[in-house]
């Protein structure tokens, strides 16, 4: 545990996490482009999935990442890695949601008019770097099973 919060700044910690997430996504072999999003604001990270490098019939997809560190350095972060493409709208989230007991959950809807379905998901770590590689692993598995 980290303890001393005298110099803690949640926005600075969150910005640093987003920069780290962008760097890890740039390293991932199935991501083609990554950028701060929206342009100029950099409150999220957007990534294009390199579908052509996967064994799948899916043709395009985008991953949008939000991350906000807790109010203190010991608080849990809230984050979401949400995929949207021609055949999917789903993501792995870590935040309070009345539809599911756990902070960690997977949510999906079959079409834009439908409601999301939710199921608990346990992240093996909540370090931003680790979450990138974990989500990319389960995302690639999911896309290749389509």
């Amino acid at each position: 545990m980290s303890g001393d919060d005298s110099s803690y700044d949640a926005a600075e910690a969150s910005h640093r996490a987003l920069r780290g997430i962008q760097r890890e996504l740039e390293r991932h072999p199935t991501i083609s482009t990554v950028r701060g999003f929206p342009s100029g604001e950099y409150t999220q990270v957007g990534a294009e999935v390199a579908i052509d490098r996967l064994d799948t019939d899916v043709t395009e997809g985008t991953l949008t990442v939000r991350w906000f560190a807790g109010g203190t350095s010991d608080d849990r972060p809230t984050f979401s890695f949400h995929y949207s493409g021609e055949n999917g709208d789903f993501g792995w989230h870590h935040e309070p949601n009345p539809h599911v007991d756990a902070w960690g959950h997977f949510q999906e809807r079959v079409n834009p008019a439908a409601s999301y379905d939710y199921e608990p998901y346990t992240f093996s770590s909540v370090n931003p770097t680790r979450v990138v590689w974990e989500v990319m692993s389960v995302l690639v598995s999911r896309l290749q099973s389509e």
Partner: protein, 174 residues
Amino acid sequence: MDDEAPGVEAWKKQTSAFDRVRSVAGTVSGPQPVSYIATEAHVAENTARSHLERLVEMNVLMKRDIGGAAMYEPDPLHTRVQTLRDLLDEYDHDGLLQLKAELQEQVETWAREYGVESPEALRRRAAESADAAETREIRETANDWALLLYRLDIVEQAIENYTAYSRDSPAPAG
């Protein structure tokens, strides 16, 4: 450490131990001991300690003694300088002025829309909302607002010091 966790094998294949230690230690929210960094980065503690010391020498991390234990945390100045450099590489002086205006306009829009003056006040509003979807939307906006203020502060620093910091710096007119 759990090498079977999703993504770990690919992460280790694509990165060096130093990369992983730097990535993990550079994104923690507060001071952490070597054992935490080593576990999260999937390296031995001695390896983590060696890389952490190097990162302290590079001014990427800061080392503190807390309760007799060595703890490592990101140097906030390092992140700030990186962001400053990215802004100066991406925008010229006029572009920075325009970006500042756009960020200020967004902040003013949120303040007007929600009738509050700060992301903290908006976060309190989120806690009072009875509607789950609205709570989430307000909370996300409060987070975006806080991030935007952090970025706006660095944009203003870039503008104030443009001539000194810019790589190819014709002095801005006016």
